[in-house]
């Protein structure tokens, strides 16, 4: 029982290079080799239904040799945590496993796994290579069919172990749900520290599970509303640097920052187009805010709206043909959809209350929003035609949804009451039943998801 190994080991990379190499890493680490035909799965999770019963899955603690014993256990723990947080899986406590001490080469005693109610099983091994890298292997088994669904192998540097775990989680998620995962992703957000009336706000980035927080600005200037490029390691956000609030572009790899455009007023609420080549944003002139589009290559700007109102929070449809935004042109904040050249704006929200911060799902099927009604702040979704509104969470203050790259989960921030209160980042899935706090070192707001790196 052995894997076919045709792998290009990844060269050692520094932290900085990691970002640039992120995509290549995955490409290089693709591995391979199934022992049996994984053409069909007997177990499959239908995640299109409203309320999914989580699938019981056993993640046997990965075996590690020598130095990698700790890392092996940590990798399997992160995989279990990823799957658990998705709400679609229920990892079974390893203490309840009957077959213990497995490595990636151990043949499962499927009866033992059926006995504890497990439908799927994950096994794995981590080994130290002579060149300092680690070799990671894992298999996903269908317990009822008694067959292997995935067998893959990766090489990477030891400090990459968390990414490795997330890549394994994505592979499992995709095999069992039929949809791409979202675990090997990051979230940019605003880190908030200090008292409520003197908050220091820093641009920060973390893994989607809250690990590996890094600060991208020092907190000297107020920064707000970061958004990830869908195609590169770039972020667009608003900064008050120099006392002149403008939209900036920030390169995460190089740390380079540049102001976007030369507008005669404050620019804010930026967001990338789906191809990453343009940024759409608001320009404030006097009492009014209108929407502008800036081409990042030609630097040309185009005015899209021209109203005596506040038009803001624009977000493209994934095909780039339409834009959803909020406007108070009708007297209160409501959602509008227009063509991406600015024509044909149509109001789509009609419920009681104010609607704001719309963001189009990467799947195209839904628009998420913040709704304020009678002092309650809600996160909801609505179809682009304005039908099918659903509230996913509501309370004292929930704001600013952003989609996971597979369009199944929303991240947002929730503020708490009191002068010691502050915002924290949460996730909720489309059923609205699975809410999860993302642990951050300080208060945190304005989360925005990166694309899946593949």
């Amino acid at each position: 029982m052995s894997f076919v190994m045709r792998l290009n080991p990844m060269r050692k990379t520094g932290v900085k290079q990691l970002w640039r190499r992120a995509c290549r890493f995955v490409a290089a680490a693709v591995a391979v080799a199934a022992l049996s035909q994984p053409a069909y799965a007997l177990i499959e999770l239908d995640i299109t239904q409203g309320n999914v019963e989580p699938m019981p899955i056993a993640i046997s603690p990965f075996a590690g040799s020598g130095l990698q014993e700790d890392v092996a256990g940590q990798i399997s723990s992160v995989v279990a945590a990823d799957l658990q947080r998705s709400g679609l899986f229920r990892p079974i406590d390893p203490a309840a496993h009957i077959q213990q001490g497995m490595n990636v080469g151990t043949m499962p005693r499927f009866g033992d796994w059926r006995t504890i109610g497990s439908q799927a099983l994950v096994t794995g091994s981590i080994a130290q290579q002579a060149n300092g890298q680690i070799r990671a292997e894992f298999r996903l088994w269908d317990v009822f069919a008694g067959q292997q669904l995935i067998g893959q192998q990766f090489f990477t540097t030891p400090e990459n172990w968390r990414r490795l775990a997330h890549i394994i989680s994505d592979a499992i998620y995709q095999r069992l749900t039929g949809e791409k995962g979202y675990f090997d992703t990051r979230v940019v957000f605003i880190d908030e520290s200090g008292p409520k009336d003197a908050r220091r706000k820093r641009l920060a980035i973390m893994d989607q599970d809250g690990a590996n927080v890094r600060y991208l600005t020092r907190g000297d200037d107020l920064v707000l509303t970061p958004r990830f490029s869908p195609v590169s390691q770039e972020v667009t956000y608003m900064s008050y640097v120099g006392g002149n609030p403008q939209v900036y572009l920030f390169n995460i790899e190089t740390g380079q920052r540049e102001v976007l455009g030369n507008f005669p007023g404050m620019t804010f609420a930026p967001r990338f187009s789906p191809d990453g080549q343009k940024v759409i944003m608001s320009l404030q002139q006097g009492s009014n805010a209108n929407l502008y589009l800036m081409d990042l290559r030609t630097r040309r700007t185009t005015r899209l709206t021209n109203t005596a109102a506040i038009d803001t929070s624009p977000s493209f449809s994934p095909d780039g043909r339409q834009v959803v935004f909020e406007s108070d042109r009708g007297g209160s904040q409501q959602l509008y959809v227009m063509n991406s050249n600015g024509s044909g704006a149509t109001r789509i929200s009609f419920g009681p209350g104010q609607y704001s911060t719309p963001v189009w799902s990467p799947r195209g099927d839904l628009i998420a929003f913040t709704k304020v009604h009678q002092g309650r702040f809600m996160i909801g979704v609505i179809r682009p035609d304005g039908k099918g509104e659903r509230i996913l969470t509501e309370g004292y203050h929930n704001e600013g949804p952003a989609w996971s790259p597979n369009g199944r989960v929303l991240t947002f921030f929730r503020d708490t009451v009191g002068d010691q209160g502050g915002p924290q980042v949460w996730t909720v899935d489309l059923t609205g039943y699975n809410e999860q706090l993302v642990q951050t070192p300080n208060y945190a707001s304005d989360p925005a998801w990166s694309p899946l790196l593949d």
Binding site: M266, D328, S356, V372
Partner: protein, 159 residues
């Protein structure tokens, strides 16, 4: 009671403004009631005796009578002390979403700017900036605090 006071204040300020036109060259201090232990023409004078801020209703940017009374006094003072430039900072309370509040703060600052310009302050002396809901001065979770945060503050500079 306080309404009458403000109304009277507004009338008073208007009278003073007329006097000032005549006395502009004589360097007379504007006759603004208040604490005379504060140095005339100082930043403290502006804050204590004139009033550096006006307040708004929820989601509104219109100036009510008390706001206009404060701005009338600001205009008189600024016309007398011509060395100052001002930055009008617009703010919103925390009970709204971030992007909209940035624009709402800008709208409030613009309302103050327009009013001061109409009262004769040169647009070249005025800058505006919005901080949205990011710079609250009162931090309780009640309207008593939110109403203090829905404000436009005139900040002096350049002397």
């Amino acid at each position: 009671m306080s309404k009458t006071l403000f109304a009277r204040g507004a009338r008073f300020a208007a009278v003073v403004a007329v006097c000032l036109v005549a006395a502009a060259c004589s360097q007379t201090r504007p006759e603004l009631s208040g604490n005379s232990s504060v140095a005339a023409g100082s930043g403290q004078d502006f804050v204590v005796n004139v009033g550096d801020r006006v307040f708004f209703l929820n989601n509104q940017s219109s100036l009510d009578g008390s706001a206009r009374a404060v701005l009338d006094k600001q205009a008189v003072w600024l016309k007398h002390y011509k060395n100052y430039s001002i930055t009008i900072e617009g703010h919103a309370d925390e009970r709204g979403t971030r992007q909209y509040n940035i624009a709402l703060g800008a709208r409030r600052a613009a309302a103050v700017r327009e009013y001061l310009v109409a009262k004769g302050i040169s647009p070249s002396r005025i800058k505006t900036i919005s901080y949205g809901k990011e710079r609250p001065v009162a931090v309780c979770n009640a309207n008593s605090c939110w109403s203090q945060n829905r404000r436009a503050v005139t900040v002096l500079s350049g002397r």
